[in-house]
């Protein structure tokens, strides 16, 4: 039984590595929030840990960004009523802002990462709406495990044939970034 389990885990590890190898992300990276939760800012803390070459603004607008300067677009999803309120925007305006950025990124050949960094606390009607709206443009999902307990991200990943990497703790994203960016 133990042997069987060991074999299973070895196969699982290989599967993960080969899955990750399907896509390699490149720098420089542009990062924004989708929903104005603090997750995007936390992403930048992790990005610094792996010395990622990135630029961040939680309120980038498509018309103000030259996407041709970047290779990867990271969208950190997390709808926060307080964050949106502080920014003076509603969820629809926010979705349209990020969607415009994502389309611009796609047109410029950037890979698009949809990231849930805050786990289950950023699953809800608004956050899920952001994810499903952006899903057709996703190149890869980075997801904190407890956000995927209902298989929401797995389903999106499998339906679109887009890879997904998960991590248990916020700091675990560091390993995912290192792997996908070849750090």
């Amino acid at each position: 039984m133990k042997k069987l389990l060991l074999t299973f885990f070895v196969v699982l590890c290989f599967a993960f590595v080969s899955f990750a190898a399907e896509i390699l992300l490149e720098e420089p990276v542009i990062v924004t929030s989708a929903g104005q939760s603090p997750g995007a800012l936390q992403f930048t803390v992790v990005a610094k840990m792996v010395s990622l070459d990135y630029k961040f603004d939680k309120l980038y607008k498509a018309e103000d960004v030259d996407m041709s300067q970047f290779k990867t677009f990271v969208i950190v999803v997390g709808a926060s009523g307080k964050g949106l309120g502080a920014a003076g925007i509603d969820i629809e305006v926010e979705i349209n802002r990020v969607l415009a950025l994502a389309r611009e990124a796609k047109d410029n050949g950037l890979k698009i990462v949809i990231c849930n960094l805050e786990g289950a606390s950023r699953r809800g009607e608004s956050s899920d709406k952001i994810v499903t709206t952006l899903a057709p443009l996703a190149s890869v999902y980075f997801v904190k495990s407890d956000a995927n307990e209902d298989g929401f991200f797995t389903n999106l990943s499998e339906e679109a044939g887009v890879p997904m990497a998960t991590f248990e703790m916020t700091v675990g994203l560091k390993d995912v970034l290192a792997q996908y960016f070849g750090k």
Binding site: S37, P38, Q42, V45, S80, E118, S121, T170
Partner: protein, 578 residues
């Protein structure tokens, strides 16, 4: 030597598991009770009661523990107010509100190219912290155990850690951007503290231990004061050692009022005791018990009375050491009748609410409302401004088996205060509670040494000389609304305390042009308020911390004590098992 042995034994007993307490959202006991917004803090107080400490001992332990488990809401960098009623009949109000540093002036702020509103999240926003001075006064008034014993639960929580709850995590998340810039060491290796993780604060444990060893005065006149001074100089704050040296917590008798035969003991200005009593004085004229909690007419009358109280607050509440305002006239029942006359039972007030400002001064000599009105009122002019809107602050209630009661509210103003992190705690940002710029005649113009106005209102309610309820809440501008909602629920609608807390709440506040309510009122009530009475409704999801996080204790006639923690903030009650 004997004293040291006793202390060691007490601390040892505290941590050997010999002390048993019961902790839950609602608890009944005849051995004493603590209700607080956090189970660890409530339990810290109950342990002290179990050891034989009295309500004041337990209050000190809870105050210190809250500074550890809710560093975003209170702590050494904060301040507050406590109302204490002792079983021997003595009553105390301890004003440990912060005070403006002497260097803090509008001119000094302008010289830096800033406005008062823009220093809110900088060290400049800090007023002189009063929590430790308040603890010292409380201890001198009637504590029975040494500070080392009372601080032991807080030190243990800070040193060994505790499990982060949803409020802690959410608050950190909401303030993350500010903390990342100013308090990286507080964060979880740079990240938000997640629910279920273990938070330790060894630096704060060291600071508390130091205060215990060197004495509370180290914070105000000793080496810790020197370090605070140096920190503020280096980081551009106004607070200096000279401010700390001159700071005192003030002990008075609490203000007294009545509501339908109950005696209420409340704080003096610069907090909202008089406003709370004024609103109840207005409501006493209505037969609310003939209605129900969800009757639109009852809601309308209460909300309109709250609006009037809040309009008047801006004219009659300030630091009494600096402004001689007729707040006792403001809380007189005769004045309340003139306010009652303004309320139209069939229609909401017109805007702006500020135009309904009353004149309480003619009632200072005890005149009746007939006498005053027949001589015609002259309106008092005052400028209106909004106060901080954060649902921060924290409140706890305690009663011991002898019937000594403590109602204690403490705060650092906004969640995480200025965001300035020093030796494991955050400094308050009470400066924001002064007028944003100098206005001739305004009673809250920034003045060195003056205590800013806020709405906190820790209260003890008695009936026939016995403690009946101990209550209070955080919630900024909604505090008095929550307090009035609670008292009306308890007295007029005869609710048990857990139901009084649980029922949906609403706000009457002069800065809100709408009527803010929690979900849970019948649709017919909402329709009536909107379509018949003319209120513009703003409905919040239930439950919402925006409305406050009260923690209440009821003492029944048979001596049974029932504690209930706030469901809006994960509160708990805790009692010794004996």
């Amino acid at each position: 030597m004997k004293k040291h042995v006793l202390v060691v034994m007490l601390v040892a007993v505290l941590f050997t598991g010999l002390i048993a307490t019961i902790t839950a959202p609602t608890v009944a006991s005849s051995n004493g009770m603590v209700a607080a917004v956090n189970n660890y803090a409530a339990e810290a107080g109950a342990k002290i009661l179990e050891m034989g400490g009295n309500a004041i001992d337990a209050a000190i332990a809870v105050s210190l523990a809250l500074g550890v488990v809710e560093p975003y809401a209170s702590g050494f960098g904060g301040e507050g107010y406590a109302v204490i009623t002792m079983a021997d009949g003595s009553k105390y109000a301890i004003d440990f509100r912060s005070a403006a540093p002497m260097m803090a002036t509008y001119e000094a702020i302008a010289e830096k190219g800033l406005k008062l509103s823009s220093i809110n999240y900088t060290p400049m926003g800090t007023c002189v912290p009063g929590v430790l001075a308040g603890i010292k006064e409380a201890w001198l008034l009637g504590a029975t155990l040494p500070l080392s014993v009372l601080a032991a639960p807080a030190i243990e929580l800070a040193r060994n850690g505790f499990i982060v709850d949803e409020t802690f995590s959410q608050t950190t998340s909401d303030t993350y951007e500010r903390l990342l810039g100013s308090a990286f060491d507080f964060l979880n290796e740079g990240f938000v503290w997640e629910t279920g993780s273990v938070f330790k604060n060894p630096e704060l444990a060291d600071t508390i231990e130091r205060v215990v060893e060197e004495g509370i005065d180290t914070f105000y006149t000793g080496s810790l004061a020197d370090e605070i001074d140096a920190f503020m100089v280096e980081n551009g704050g106004f607070l200096r050692k000279s401010d700390l040296e001159s700071y005192r917590a003030i002990v008075r008798e609490p203000l007294h009022g009545t509501y339908r035969g109950y005696d209420l003991y409340v704080p003096h200005p610069p907090v909202s005791g008089p406003q709370f009593l004024m609103v109840l004085n207005v409501l006493e004229n209505y037969n609310l018990s003939a209605m129900s909690w969800d009757d639109p007419l009852a809601i309308h009358l209460i909300q309109q009375a709250l609006v009037l109280g809040d309009v008047d607050r801006k004219a009659y509440i300030s630091d009494p050491e600096f402004h001689d305002l007729p707040y006792e006239a403001f809380m007189s029942k005769e004045y309340a009748k003139t306010r009652l006359m303004l309320i139209n039972p069939g229609k909401v007030f017109d805007q702006p609410y500020a135009s309904y400002l009353g004149d309480a001064s003619p009632f200072a000599d005890g005149s009746t409302y007939e006498e005053v009105l027949l001589e015609e009122l002259a309106p008092v002019m005052s400028s209106a401004r909004a106060v901080e809107e954060s649902p921060s602050t924290t409140h706890f209630s305690i009663v011991d088996k002898e019937g000594n009661a403590v109602s204690w509210t403490q705060t650092i103003s906004s969640f995480f205060g200025t965001g300035t992190y020093f030796k494991g705690f955050f400094f308050n940002n009470e400066m924001a509670n002064f007028a944003s710029s100098y206005r001739e005649g305004d009673v809250i113009n920034l003045t060195g040494g003056m205590r800013p106005r806020t709405t906190i209102c820790p209260t003890v309610v008695m009936k026939d000389g016995e403690v009946r309820w101990i209550l209070g809440t955080p919630g900024a501008g909604r505090i008095v609304s929550m307090m009035v909602n609670l008292v009306v629920n308890l007295v007029d609608f005869n609710m048990p305390i857990d139901q009084a807390i649980r029922s949906p709440k609403f706000v009457g506040y002069s800065s809100y042009t709408d009527l803010r309510m929690e979900e849970g009122f019948p649709q017919s009530t909402l329709d009536f308020l909107e379509k018949i009475l003319g209120h513009k409704l703003n409905i919040y999801a239930y439950p919402d911390l925006f409305f406050g996080g009260p923690n209440i204790i009821a003492v029944e006639e048979n001596g049974m004590m029932i504690g209930a923690g706030s469901l809006r903030r994960g509160g708990s009650a805790s009692a010794p098992e004996f």
